[in-house]
Subunit: 185 residues, 2 copies
DNA sequence: ACCTGAACACCGTTCAAGT
DNA sequence: ACCTGAACACCGTTCAAGT
């Protein structure tokens, strides 16, 4: 990549992160380009769709979550590991408002740039759930896709101003119904 | 109201119901006006905002739900009544895709034309929940607003193509964790 | 009274023309 | 190679002008 193109790429990512932090994932692409001091068409060649831009913004966090799943699996009880990892997943998804809506859309659309990351997240959660179920630490009448959907729906709740605290408590309630022996002392 | 205005009003409601059934609550207002054969400005004087239009479309259903809450309370056990009514609430909300997003927004905005209806729905659910809790048929670590949020989040899930069936199963799982002695024989 | 069409300020997409 | 600005087809809002 040419040096000026690389500089544009980097600046666009920084600016996009700031704008999407303020306005959520439905922020205006024009606004992002404007604040980065480039034409809208330049933004769209670097990131052809909104989802491609989101994927670039979230890739590092998703990679960390994948590593984190291995960590908690090796150093925590099955029930604890599942809950700890889900909290980290939620923390990433609540970083930008609207992320989880994009993810739920993307997981059904194999052409989406976010698709692979979403499938990976669902997979990490499913692995931890299965481990907990095999240890008798989680109820067995739901699978990884169910859990991903359920937790995503609670993140959607917390995207609404004034509902963050309620969403957190509901997560605790739901987890207490799904996972047993999950709380560290 | 003048006769031609009344005719426009009625036709707009019928057309809006059809378009929103097809495209969800974010359907284009222009499209609704176009299909009704009136100017966009005419639609917007009859229904100044999207939420005002939604409120008109949903009012009858909400009124029925309010009556229904009384019915189930008088003729069912506390646990059964709560689950039955929630199923009816979900049925209304899944009639048009996007309704529950509008409702969750509206419940925080006392200026919204949908606000009163949303508060009423939350109130009906809360009353049935309290009754079940007092009968020992529901867990007591959540309140009516929690339940409204939780059920709304599951309806949001079912708004996504391919997740309806999963959302229904998750409702059963969540209800089994919250309500005891709820299932009719 | 009620309705209409046009003007306005936005949006994302596309593409010919520049450097 | 890369970028730009303009054109395009949308959106909801507003309002002067018609019937």
């Amino acid at each position: 990549m040419r040096a000026d193109a690389q500089a544009n790429h980097d600046r666009l990512l920084v600016v996009a992160g700031a704008v999407i932090t303020e306005q959520g994932t439905e922020a205006s692409m024009r606004e992002i380009a404007r604040r980065a001091g480039v034409g809208l068409a330049t933004l769209q060649r670097h990131f052809p769709t909104r989802e491609a831009l989101l994927e670039a913004l979230l890739r590092a966090s998703f990679d960390e979550l994948t590593e984190r799943a291995v960590q908690v699996e090796t150093s925590n009880s099955p029930g604890e590991a599942l809950v700890l990892w889900l909290r980290d997943f939620i923390a990433v998804c609540t970083n930008y408002r609207g992320v989880v809506s994009a993810m739920v859309q993307a997981i059904e659309d194999s052409e989406s740039p976010l698709h692979a990351s979403c499938v990976a997240m669902r997979g990490s959660g499913a692995r931890l759930l299965t481990r907990a179920q095999e240890a008798g630490a989680a109820r067995t009448d739901l699978d990884g896709a169910d859990l991903f959907a359920l937790v995503s729906s609670l993140v959607w709740l917390s995207d609404h101003p004034g509902l963050e605290a309620r969403a957190e408590r509901l997560f605790d309630i739901v987890m207490s119904a799904i996972v047993t022996k999950a709380r560290p002392a």
